[in-house]
Symmetry: none
Subunit: 413 residues, 2 copies
């Protein structure tokens, strides 16, 4: 089944909020083997709503609309769909009672304004999707073989109605299965990867699609199979995993940080960080993963040289002779924090993130990263030459990639 999502509201078009609702709905539909063909964000305008509904109904059998069901006058969705479907709005008695109860709870001393009662207005003949967690109900409308669902835009109300009212209804009508398999790879650029697996990619049947999703040093491969048994997708998944060997970080759809936390947890390993130019970003990206406390005890942000000396034990002579942004310093930082925290692995960064602080010898974007492992410490110089934000982001990504590579190397030995 093809679906489309339409979000109504100026906030997304103005960039005041990011549309995370659609991504969430996309995930849910995907799990139910329903393919989202298009997501459209439009303003609270009758003409735009009508055009979007009309176009979507020419392409999809399921149309999910969020937003525009609030009580204020800039929400025109109800009137517009009444015209679009050529059916009147009727006031639902059960919903009205619910709206009145909620209003009393939040404002016990006030009379409910007429405008709020309009939230109980639903399209005549629709299936009312009762909203336990908010005032505006959802509506399920079947019209000329197409399913239309209207939902409030408030994320937790939308999620409640989707989970409890819509997905159960959709779960029945499935004809075709959709299956996905993922491979997270490291150490091969998108084009090298493509060359490495050309023959496998060319042998894929029509029903299986391969997508490359590159991101900061990793390439995520996604196989999607539509409409057949899952045996062949697993066959190709295995083929790819075998071919890519040590470049495979994970065979499921996780981040490098998640892979590190999972693997280190399994092996009982601990990681520590000593950051200068990344300013806590490496620690932050590791600790964003649930369960990071199993592998991470300690991180030091050593922005000033005295902290590098006093906490991490970097030799003042090294700082004097080579400077803070040097291989010697970053190695001592990594080894220092490893010792301090009794960790098995440690990452250190020192560089010039910019925009200030560059010199002809060490321009902005010069970054040294060291990773100290069980048996050795590796270090590498990068020249990112970008904005502060990007220099930091890339330093973090490269540091985690270096950690992964050393971890895999030491695993083999």
């Amino acid at each position: 089944m093809n679906a489309e999502i339409i979000t109504i509201g100026d906030e997304i078009l103005l960039g005041q909020i990011v549309d995370s609702n659609s991504a969430w709905i996309g995930q849910q539909l995907n799990l139910l083997n329903i393919r989202v063909r298009q997501i459209t964000s439009i303003a609270d305008k009758a003409q735009d709503i009508t055009q979007s509904l009309s176009l979507a109904s020419s392409r999809a059998e399921l149309i999910i609309v969020t937003g525009g069901l609030g009580p204020t006058k800039d929400d025109v969705t109800r009137q517009t769909i009444s015209t679009y479907f050529n059916k009147p709005l009727v006031r639902d008695a059960a919903v009205l009672k619910h709206v009145e109860t909620l209003f009393k709870r939040f404002a016990p001393d006030r009379m409910m304004p007429e405008i709020n009662k309009a939230q109980a207005d639903v399209l005549d003949g629709c299936e009312v999707l009762f909203n336990d967690v908010g005032t505006a109900p959802g509506m399920w409308i079947e019209h000329q073989q197409i399913k239309y669902v209207f939902l409030p835009g408030v994320p937790f109300e939308m999620k409640f109605l989707t989970t409890n009212r819509i997905l159960p209804k959709l779960r029945d009508g499935q004809r075709e299965a959709v299956a996905h398999r993922h491979i997270i790879t490291i150490g091969l650029g998108e084009s090298f990867l493509a060359r490495e697996i050309t023959d496998i990619e060319e042998s894929l049947p029509e029903s299986i699609k391969l997508a490359y999703l590159p991101k900061l040093g990793l390439v995520r491969l996604r196989l999607t199979q539509i409409g057949e048994s899952e045996s062949s997708i697993d066959y190709f998944h295995n083929l790819l995993v075998e071919r890519l060997g040590r470049h495979v970080v994970s065979t499921s759809d996780i981040s490098l940080e998640q892979a590190i936390v999972e693997s280190f947890t399994q092996k009982g390993l601990k990681l520590a960080t000593a950051e200068s130019c990344t300013g806590g970003g490496i620690a932050s990206s590791i600790t964003s993963v649930p369960g990071a406390s199993c592998i991470f005890d300690c991180g030091i942000v050593a922005y000033h040289n005295t902290i590098k000396q006093n906490l991490l034990g970097v030799d003042p002579k090294v700082l004097d002779q080579y400077g803070a942004v040097s291989e010697q310093t970053v190695i001592q930082m990594a080894e220092g924090v490893k010792k301090l925290s009794h960790a098995d692995y440690a990452i250190a960064s020192s560089g010039i993130a910019g925009p200030g602080g560059g010199t002809p010898e060490k321009p902005v974007g010069t970054v040294w990263i060291a990773v100290s492992g069980k048996n050795k410490t590796i270090s590498r110089l990068f020249n990112f030459q970008n904005s502060r934000e990007i220099n930091i982001e890339r330093s973090i990504a490269q540091a985690l990639a270096m950690l992964w590579n050393l971890y895999i190397e030491e695993l083999d030995n």
Copy 2:
């Protein structure tokens, strides 16, 4: 001018990534008084791309398309637009040289595959938007009075090209001047703020609009004046700043982190951090600001209790009696890191970010934050009860707000 944004790529439709690019572009265009009328997300499919371009060109004069410019064969955008505009693709020599240089830098020992060269293919007659920070260039195409812009989907490349290539071109082409003034406020909710300035808002001329942009404890006020001299916008800006007094964090459009770095630099103050549940996120948000090294020497991520004891000097008895997530511990963490680093101010966090680790007494989302200043230490308990990501994000925002409030209070004394 009306604009539309089209994003190409399955990842958004599958819900694997949230479309934050469009919101960012929407903000930038809005500042130029260009109204985004629709945002459309579609798959890497020639037919869908063609239909979207065709429909968008019937509604808007500016169409910004992101994504689908990668080197692999699932990116069909280039071929599709060649057909759509009925013009061949040509290989741009300068871009090819740039792609080769970048390739050499990242993989000095390898031959560049043919597939990468295709990234230098651009539409014949387009204006090539040279991409300093990545391989795929952008393209600016004017066709039947409509401006089409094609950009890579990688956020930092998209942002670089928008900021440095597209916005300047759009700014030059504008007929009416657009001026903005900002006020960043803290400590007043949106509705209280509105009540505080009702009379000023009502006295605004037709040509000046006031927008409220609330986000995580701050409210950003934006005055926009279209088409007149800038004198009156400054008059109203001053009126608002005067009225809001100590609630004003900044009179320009900067983040709270930037305001902290600026103010602390001016006063010669230093900040330190001792983080548990925020895992380096507070240090990271401060050090994301250029010039942060003037105010920030040291941050400790003390995830494990032994680090809280050994590095920050938290009393083991306090940890035993009250636990790591307690007012007593977080106060000792803040005071400990302040002493350790000789800073003037210190922030500490300790909480249960989740999803694991909650108890009936201290459920997920329980977070203690302390800020130690020149004369006193303040602390506060929060109950965010959200996902790990949101709990961390809110903890950081609240910690910075608490720091700012204590700083302003101690400034007055």
